[in-house]
Symmetry: C2
Subunit: 374 residues, 2 copies
Amino acid sequence: MPVIPPPAKVGDTLDDILTPALIIDLDAFEANLDRLRARCETFGVRLRAHAKTHKSADIGLQQMSRGGACGVCCQKVSEAEAMVAGGVPDVLVSNQVIGAARIARLVALAGRARVIVCVDDAGNVDELAEAAAAAGVTLECLVEIDTGMGRCGVRPGAEGVALAQRVAGHPSLRFSGLQAYDGRAQHVYDFDKRRARIEGVVAATRDTVAALKSAGLDCAIVGGAGTGTYAFEASSGVYNELQCGSYVFMDVDYGRVQEADGAGLSEFAQSLFVLSTVMSVAVPGTAVCDAGLKALSTDSGPPVVFGREDLEVSGVSDEHTILLDPGDSLSLGQRVKLVPGHCDPTCNLHDWYVGVRDGRVETVWPVSARGCVV
Amino acid sequence: MPVIPPPAKVGDTLDDILTPALIIDLDAFEANLDRLRARCETFGVRLRAHAKTHKSADIGLQQMSRGGACGVCCQKVSEAEAMVAGGVPDVLVSNQVIGAARIARLVALAGRARVIVCVDDAGNVDELAEAAAAAGVTLECLVEIDTGMGRCGVRPGAEGVALAQRVAGHPSLRFSGLQAYDGRAQHVYDFDKRRARIEGVVAATRDTVAALKSAGLDCAIVGGAGTGTYAFEASSGVYNELQCGSYVFMDVDYGRVQEADGAGLSEFAQSLFVLSTVMSVAVPGTAVCDAGLKALSTDSGPPVVFGREDLEVSGVSDEHTILLDPGDSLSLGQRVKLVPGHCDPTCNLHDWYVGVRDGRVETVWPVSARGCVV
């Protein structure tokens, strides 16, 4: 495998950076950290930032130090391993971990850091318990409930209680609470519809917390929420831990999510860009950039050119983004900042973040869990 | 950066492979190599297989040995470097190379292998010439013409001739012919429409070849074509080098491309899969797999489950694919083979290919140019 060298070094200008490259506007990034920290303090809830967005231990540590997070979330065991290896001491795998090989790695990790995992299957609970017991560790578990997303999780209420009791019955496991996340709600653009959807999520979660309490089981963690909905969960009186991820970077699709007044979400700034070079202007009215599907993910739509509403993206292919530039304003070699449609899978395409302030490269961070899908 | 370990070792069964993983059915893969080799021999044209599909020097070398290719195409300088480092001796960068840093790398590579590059700008030609002269190498150039894709390339005819003359005027460059590729035509599903589109491409290319000949410039290479259209270019009497890439693997979108009788393309077999594990069956009627947007690209639509037309993909998120399984036929831990919507960007998400035959892992190849976007 190639070791991809960093596309820039500290002190470089934007024009020195090899493109396409993932760049972070550090002022905007830090403002986002500060903003969500302040909001969580106001609401009186913890933040457990989702590292699946950035896959970077450096950023996870900044979310904990400057950003006030109690730890991070990961989606995969290998992602969690990369975070712990990079110094993050507290990781929730907000997902199910299936199969002996992965469970062995999870349990080994629990010997080196605080590790929490989600469960939605009784047989899986028993396997986790056996592996934890064999390794001499106690593994914390959140019971995931399906509050409407229809992906993972047992039914709220009695099914949740039954699985929690199964967890609590194993000496090598600890029942630590509930995972109740509605990913689809994050991208419901209309404010009232988004709020209504989360009201249902909160009601199901509240009922399950109460049913657990009746069964003698307390939830140390009631976790969920994302960048699009967190204020609803945070003010519910039910949730105590938020799992926002995209807030550090933002993307085109989150820009479509509306506030109560119909305006786009504006409390977090766009801090992430794919820096790209114009590599062809041979076709009149068109400028072609050197970043395509292998440098940005289009699952939530194409990128836009930051600060250039006059330029329209007409196509994205493997290694090209085609811009309609009727005035032929762009010249060969010129740099543009593309805002990705969806930040999470875009970051996973790159090996390095280039942190920029005042037009200069201030830092270069590895995407330390890039490709960690297991 | 993490070094991602291989997800399997030689001799493993499918159930031993850590998922999600990119697996190759070696029988189907080799049949695809044999098929296109035979077709090119029949047509009397060379194959220069496109390595952007697989980004693997191992596969590039097999395309040359078993598959009869004269060399490979790459889209990026760093991709070409990885191919040459892996032993591929003959590489066409079927794209423009812009900027001093990249040009320096291209010219250095031309000192270690046969390197050809595409041009569509006079200033860029002069820069390439200067760098090649300084390095004491001769760089081969293809003039790219825009035959209707509207991406890169000068206009066919006089513009192409003028740029070719500019190339030929530099002692450090060699004019080697034309690049005339219509990527969009590959995915025009209807046979007659696809053929009609390529008829236009061929006509523009034929005219440009003739105009060049009148100007005293011969085209050693007239290159282009892809998996969806190659028979048209190959039988045109104009093209002598085909650049098919996807034929080694195939994908869902190429399955939609129709033959003359309206049936799907069938001469190449599906050889590439994302092996995935069912990680949640908690929601009735639903099975969730552990491969999402970070293991397969959905730019050309979602994946399908190979051999299971009864299962419908209802959603793909960062790390999950949700299958509608009304009969609850899938069980936790079960493996499924997902056919990616688009093979090229899917391969770039992975670090390893696991080659399988008769249910056993026979080989593991690195995705040696994974992440090489510069």
